[in-house]
């Protein structure tokens, strides 16, 4: 499948953190969920992709073109939503549109106003009077109005109520109906990603631990609940992490089918993304 965004060996060194040779591919027409705990390097990766921070090594390609050389042109095709940084909140959507009209070649006022209406956003009210969900919708309306191909969202659903969250997730799904568009969505609300992501990239301590389709991920990994004796018989190489209870052990295993075949007496369940994340990061390791 053709890639919209390709990140190769992206590296950034800080005194006490390193973004370590991150590889990331975003195929056209897909939603890539970018997960990891706070401080794992999600925002750093996004910032290094768009050049807000200077990378120490690695390459970024958008639509097959190197990002470094054509950043100004390529940013026409990208919309980035990051928490906390935006226009001054004294401005209204109308004024923001007036500013952006001059920046984006493909900006369409009609489209913008159509989305404002659809999202029930008052065009001449100051942004400071908007709720968090409304601000998020405004950012999405902007992205849709300049016909962005790639939407990069850093924690877009955190702090939103379930109803607004599901509304926004629907908008994302509509966005990629056009097969030329994609979304990179960083979040630690893994249930959201279970609903909409096609791929999951999992970053931990600045390194990509997993980068698979969501279905493969949920299909290949298994959650085993067993006794201490049963646990001892498990192939060590298959166990990613485990948690000891007073009477039993819960463990995350890879190659679910193989484990199930070798241990027909075991109950192997499907894990959630959250389980996978937790056992990779926090579980005891054999």
């Amino acid at each position: 499948m053709e890639a919209l965004l390709e990140v190769k060996q992206l590296t950034k060194n800080y005194q006490n953190f390193t973004l370590d040779r991150v590889d990331l591919t975003i195929p056209k027409g897909s939603i890539v969920g970018f997960i990891g705990e706070n401080g794992a390097g999600k925002t750093t990766t996004i910032k290094a992709i768009i050049g807000a921070i200077h990378k120490d090594a690695g390459e970024v390609y958008l639509l097959g073109k190197p990002f470094d050389r054509g950043k100004k042109d390529l940013m026409q095709e990208v919309a980035v939503v990051m928490e906390g940084s935006f226009f001054n909140d004294e401005l209204t959507p109308n004024q923001i549109a007036h500013i952006l009209r001059g920046l984006y070649r493909k900006w369409k006022d009609e489209t913008f106003h159509r989305y404002l209406q659809k999202f029930k956003l008052p065009p001449s009210k100051k942004v400071k009077e908007f709720s968090k969900g409304m601000r998020m919708k405004l950012s999405i309306a902007i992205a849709l109005s300049h016909d962005a191909k790639l939407l990069i969202l850093d924690e877009p659903t955190s702090g939103l109520d379930p109803i607004v969250r599901s509304e926004i997730l629907e908008i994302f799904q509509d966005f990629i109906i056009d097969e030329n568009r994609s979304i990179l969505l960083s979040s630690h609300i893994t249930t959201d990603l279970e609903k909409i992501a096609d791929y999951i990239a999992f970053i931990h301590n600045g390194k990509i631990l997993l980068n698979e389709t969501k279905d493969d991920l949920l299909y290949n990994y298994g959650l085993v609940k067993c006794s201490f004796d049963q646990f001892k018989k498990l192939d060590e190489s298959k166990v990613i992490g485990y948690k000891k209870g007073s009477f039993s052990i819960e463990a995350l295993v890879r190659d679910k089918k193989v484990v199930q075949r070798n241990h027909p007496d075991l109950l192997v369940e499907n894990p959630t993304i959250e389980d996978i994340m937790l056992y990779f990061v926090r579980g005891d390791h054999s």
């Binding site: 910032k47 200077h54 940013m75 940084s85």
Partner: protein
């Protein structure tokens, strides 16, 4: 880049309204014929007030973390920095024009002859000082941020004042003999040269930043 300027003017709207009230107030004060409060004092103050406007724009940017957001837009870092310098020149230009108009109105009010070349050269001198203040302050803001930059600005403005005050009568007397007509034309050109230099420094600082 014009969009960046639009953004600044939108941000500064309420601030500019306050400035306008100040300008009207000081102008009206001028009609009271207070000693020392002549038109040249007023034009000096006016242009310096306008010089401060770009600094306020940095404060607004800081509040909304604009610089980080700006990295997500199709603009280059060069345009972002250049935009601020053009904003500086624009506001000083507006100050110049306002002060120019006011000087003429004053002269007519006082029934004095209108000396256009004198008005242009005196306003030009003050504008040049404004440009030099900007040229010093902008790289400092880019390097240290607007809060610290503001404090440094006060020092930058006070230093020459104390310098002149500490110069003896003799030096001041010699200064008075200089050909001020020539200087008043050369000085703005010199100031613009400083500004170009200042821009290259600011760009270097800004370009190295991580947001």
């Amino acid at each position: 880049m014009i969009s960046l300027l639009k953004k600044d003017f939108y941000n500064l709207r309420s601030y500019l309204k306050t400035i306008l009230i100040l300008v009207v107030f000081f102008t009206l004060l001028g009609f009271l014929k207070i000693e020392m409060y002549d038109s040249s004092f007023l034009s000096g103050m006016l242009i310096i007030i306008f010089t401060m406007i770009p600094i306020a724009s940095f404060t607004y940017d800081l509040q909304s973390k604009w610089d980080a957001f700006c990295q997500t837009l199709p603009v280059t870092r060069k345009e972002i920095v250049l935009g601020k310098y053009i904003l500086s020149l624009l506001t000083i230009g507006i100050g110049f024009v306002l002060s120019f108009i006011m000087n003429i109105v004053y002269s007519l009010w006082m029934k004095e002859p209108v000396d256009i070349s004198m008005i242009i050269s005196s306003n030009g001198m003050v504008s040049a000082v404004g440009i030099i203040i900007q040229s010093i302050i902008l790289p400092l803001i880019y390097k240290f941020g607007v809060e610290k930059g503001r404090i440094i600005l006060i020092i930058v403005c006070l230093a020459p004042t104390f310098l002149f005050m500490s110069l003896g009568e003799g030096v001041m007397g010699k200064l008075a003999q200089w050909d001020w007509q020539v200087i008043s034309y050369a000085f703005p050109v010199f100031a613009l040269g400083i500004m170009v230099l200042s821009y290259t420094i600011s760009y270097k600082i800004y370009n190295a930043k991580d947001f």
